[in-house]
């Protein structure tokens, strides 16, 4: 049965994010036209990295359950981390956590325990600011991802299969990404195939769609293409997704349209997670 390998510091897994930094990302973001799609991408990748680091954090530091890479694609695909991590393809999550470009502060409402809400200041680390220029060489990005993931699997043959998350508006300018996406999904550790998930940030004003099981209700061809490029959620992830309140079927795919993909971090199993930790 695949997707059961323990994720540990001795047998880490891998997260590779592909972020679309093309010129079309300057266009307004469908669910919030005051923002550009590039803002949506920066927000999504920063929140994904933040949540992954928090998930692996203990008081003695962040445990290296994952090696993490971010490939940007606008002109040519390449490692997108800046500062101390510049030029590196995969970085242990503890180093990602300790090297954001800056840490902003945001205020959010939280429950006060007596039925009310109070303001709470939270630190929000920023690794990436919005970027939008050049074309959308998604095929090249997927091919580059294939070589990075292949090297990781060669070093960690029994790892929990790497997860690749592509954040894009779907408008590839270097051909049809279906074949390179399939080649990426065909890579496997002894525990199962690589998982490719897609977060589609669109200019369409359609409502968010999270983890659908068919492309029927998706609003455009880009969304349908990205849905069909996405891996089905493995059984164990479906189990957690159900516990988190998502309805799933065996055809549910790791695809989100104009919505929030951060929930994927909660689907990861690195140990006991209290059901009442929300």
């Amino acid at each position: 049965m695949p997707y059961i390998a323990e994720i540990s510091r001795g047998n880490p897994s891998c997260f590779l994010f592909l972020i679309d930094q093309s010129g079309s990302m300057r266009d307004p973001f469908g669910v919030d036209p005051s923002k550009r799609k590039a803002d949506g991408v920066a927000d999504a990748i920063n929140r994904l990295l933040q949540n992954l680091a928090i998930k692996c954090a203990k008081t003695e530091g962040v445990r290296d359950y994952y090696h993490v890479g971010v490939l940007g694609y606008g002109h040519r695909p390449g490692p997108a981390f800046g500062g101390a991590l510049a030029g590196r393809e995969l970085v242990p999550i503890s180093e990602v956590a300790t090297n954001p470009a800056r840490v902003d502060e945001r205020v959010r409402k939280v429950e006060d325990g007596t039925g009310g809400l109070v303001d709470q200041t939270v630190k929000f680390p920023i690794w990436f600011d919005p970027v939008a220029n050049g074309g959308t060489p998604m095929c090249q990005a997927l091919t580059r991802a294939q070589s990075i993931v292949q090297s990781f699997i060669a070093e960690h043959p029994d790892c929990f299969p790497p997860i690749v998350i592509n954040i894009t508006d779907g408008e590839a300018t270097d051909g049809n990404p279906t074949a390179p996406a399939e080649a990426l999904r065909n890579l496997a550790s002894t525990d199962g195939n690589v998982l490719l998930f897609n977060l589609h940030l669109s200019s369409q004003k359609a409502s968010p769609i999270e983890f659908p099981d068919s492309d029927e209700n998706l609003p455009d061809n880009y969304a349908k293409l990205l849905f069909n490029m996405s891996s089905k959620l493995p059984e164990y992830m479906r189990g957690i997704a159900e516990e988190e309140g998502f309805k799933t079927t065996e055809n549910t795919r790791g695809f989100v349209f104009n919505g929030d993909l951060v929930s994927v971090i909660r689907f990861l199993d690195i140990g006991t997670r209290p059901a009442n930790l929300r």
């Binding site: 323990e6 540990s8 510091r9 001795g10 933040q50 680091a53 928090i54 998930k55 954090a57 203990k58 008081t59 003695e60 962040v62 956590a97 300790t98 954001p100 840490v103 939280v110 429950e111 006060d112 325990g113 709470q120 939270v122 630190k123 680390p125 957690i240 516990e243 199993d269 690195i270 140990g271 006991t272 997670r273 209290p274 059901a275 009442n276 930790l277 929300r278």
Partner: protein, 255 residues
């Protein structure tokens, strides 16, 4: 009648002893023969901050209480434990502030969410008249109590089937806002025990194995009594018969 007890524990494979986040109490087998003897184990959630210290405070607070075990008294114990944790946390944060490693951004959400752990407590009321001791137990979460008499499992509390275990149990939090659901799941039970009876208090990985073995009509307690604990756990982990997790077992024998 008297009580003999022993606790065995092992951290998750790949973790150091300092990363062990289960807890048990008392640390030494109690010597007394009369009165109320208490034992507790707790399992701090791996995906929460400071769950080890919270588990430690829960087991100590339960064992230092001497009121009969009821849902109401258990709520009182949990309240006292929360207050003790708050005091401990204040001191911990002060120490961190003064240290070379002040609290980092990635720790803050976990610290704000609070620590999470199970609680399983057993109270043996010794010295009463009659031919047995009364026992009372409280449980929240997936740590389990097993009562074995004459080579038969007569009580399995609070889980009764190996399929009941999940990686997402409802646990006790230090944060009262997260505890509304948990307190509703608090369970208590009681019974009597006789010379020859054995109680096992276990955290979830071992308890799930124990129930699976029992469902196959085997008597897992014979293995627990006969084999070296570390050898048994290491072997079960290697064979994939037990989830790799911190493991704790207190065995209490009525003699």
């Amino acid at each position: 009648m008297r009580i003999e007890s022993e606790t065995r524990w092992l951290p998750k494979r790949g973790n150091t002893v300092s990363e062990y986040e289960d807890a048990f109490y008392p640390k030494e087998a109690p010597k007394g023969r009369e009165g109320c003897l208490r034992f507790a184990v707790s399992d701090g959630a791996s995906e929460s901050m400071l769950s080890g210290p919270w588990a430690e405070i829960l087991v100590k607070t339960f064992c230092r209480s001497n009121v009969p075990v009821t849902k109401a008294s258990a709520r009182g114990i949990i309240e006292r434990a929360s207050m003790a944790y708050e005091a401990w946390l204040k001191d911990y944060l002060r120490r961190r502030e003064r240290s070379e490693r002040p609290v980092q951004w990635y720790e803050e959400p976990g610290l704000q969410a609070g620590a999470f752990a199970t609680l399983l407590g057993l109270s043996l009321v010794t010295g009463a008249s009659g031919d047995g001791f009364r026992w009372e137990a409280v449980c929240l979460g997936d740590s389990c109590l097993f009562h074995v008499r004459e080579d038969r499992l007569i009580t399995s509390f609070a889980m009764t089937r190996s399929s009941d275990f999940s990686q997402r149990p409802v646990l006790l939090s230090t944060n009262p806002a997260k505890n509304r659901l948990a307190l509703g799941k608090l369970k208590v039970t009681s019974g009597t025990c006789h010379p020859g009876d054995v109680f096992y208090l276990m955290t979830d990985a071992l308890a799930a194995w124990f129930l699976r073995e029992h469902e196959r009509c085997d008597a897992p307690w014979t293995l627990l009594d006969a084999l070296d604990f570390e050898d048994l756990v290491t072997g079960l982990r290697q064979e994939g018969l037990m989830r790799n997790d911190d493991v704790t077992m207190t065995s209490i024998r009525v003699v």
